[in-house]
């Protein structure tokens, strides 16, 4: 009788634990995408277009994103004329980050940062750089 009670007790715990695990797994469902999002730790990324004076986008332009006196990241615009650089850390003040652009046969005309529409770290700091043909 005693061993029967013990078996029942062990079986009870095992089944209870199994049910609890199954129910919580089903309730949570599954994630869909954005698993690689590190914006919480990295702070907002830096994104923008490089355009010419007619408003057309400029592919393969050199874009430098610099954190005041500390680090500079150089990238190039893609076929759509966009660049994207990861954030420098959530403690970084975006006002300390400067963007500049260049391309052979052009000079930088202006750099305009768009006002931030949200404090959502997933939304990048958007800066548009305009190049003028030489």
């Amino acid at each position: 009788m005693r061993s029967l009670v013990r078996i029942g007790r062990v079986a009870g715990w095992v089944l209870t634990a199994t049910c609890l695990v199954c129910v919580s797994a089903w309730a949570g469902g599954q994630g869909f995408g954005d698993d690689d999002d590190n914006s919480e730790e990295e702070g907002p990324s830096y994104f923008g277009f490089v355009r010419d004076t007619k408003g057309g986008t400029v592919p393969d332009a050199k874009v430098t994103v610099s954190l005041k006196d500390r680090i500079s990241i150089v990238t190039r615009t893609d076929a759509l004329g966009t660049y994207k650089v990861p954030g420098f850390g959530k403690e970084t003040d975006p006002n300390d980050v400067a963007v500049s652009c260049g391309k052979d046969g052009y000079k930088q005309l202006r750099v305009v940062r768009r006002p931030m529409s949200s404090k959502d770290p997933k939304i990048p700091i958007e800066t548009e750089c305009t190049l003028q043909p030489l």
Binding site: V5, G12, C19, C22, V23, S45, L80, K122
Partner: protein, 166 residues
């Protein structure tokens, strides 16, 4: 009797949890049949599959057949598809969708518009190739370069003729 209490409680708990999990299981991963209908809120992939990709294909087929009224109509539909998508999903993975669409397709759409108005096949083909390039450039920018759009070489619409009406 006291020794039997724990197994009895455990069995009771198992039954309750079992019924609960069966209820959760019966609800299906796709939702609850008895829930209030939710507003339809398609995301980017659905918008692309519903409003953009088929219209891009139909526009291409209409132009290839030199069915200019249909091409004109599909161009308008495609533009509306982009506008609706940009309004419904203004930001995707943080990126500004209206600006991406503008950079990717505005210029080719204008080229296409003139090609269709002039009934000029070569300009249509150039515009359509640029439009398709723009789609793929945008996919690359949004880290979806594995979705490759091409000029249609066959119709996926067996119930529609793309030939001009005689």
């Amino acid at each position: 009797m006291r020794k039997l209490m724990f197994p009895l409680v455990a069995v009771g708990l198992i039954i309750v949890l079992g019924l609960w999990s069966m209820r959760a299981g019966a609800q299906s991963q796709f939702g609850d049949a008895n829930a209030e209908p939710a507003p339809f809120n398609p995301q980017m992939a659905a918008m692309m599959s519903m409003l953009i990709q088929p219209r891009h294909a139909k526009l291409g087929l209409a132009g290839q057949a030199e069915n200019w009224p249909l091409a004109q109509y599909m161009l308008k539909e495609l533009k509306q598809g982009f506008a609706i998508t940009a309004r419904s999903v203004p930001r995707w993975k943080g990126l500004p969708v209206p600006d991406l669409f503008d950079a990717a397709v505005s210029q080719p759409l204008t080229t296409l518009e003139y090609g269709i108005k002039l009934k000029y096949r070569q300009q249509f083909d150039e515009g359509f190739a640029k439009l398709t390039e723009g789609c793929n450039a945008c996919h690359a920018t949004t880290e979806h370069s594995f979705i490759v759009i091409k000029v249609p070489d066959a119709s996926a619409f067996p119930n529609q003729s793309f030939q001009p009406k005689p």
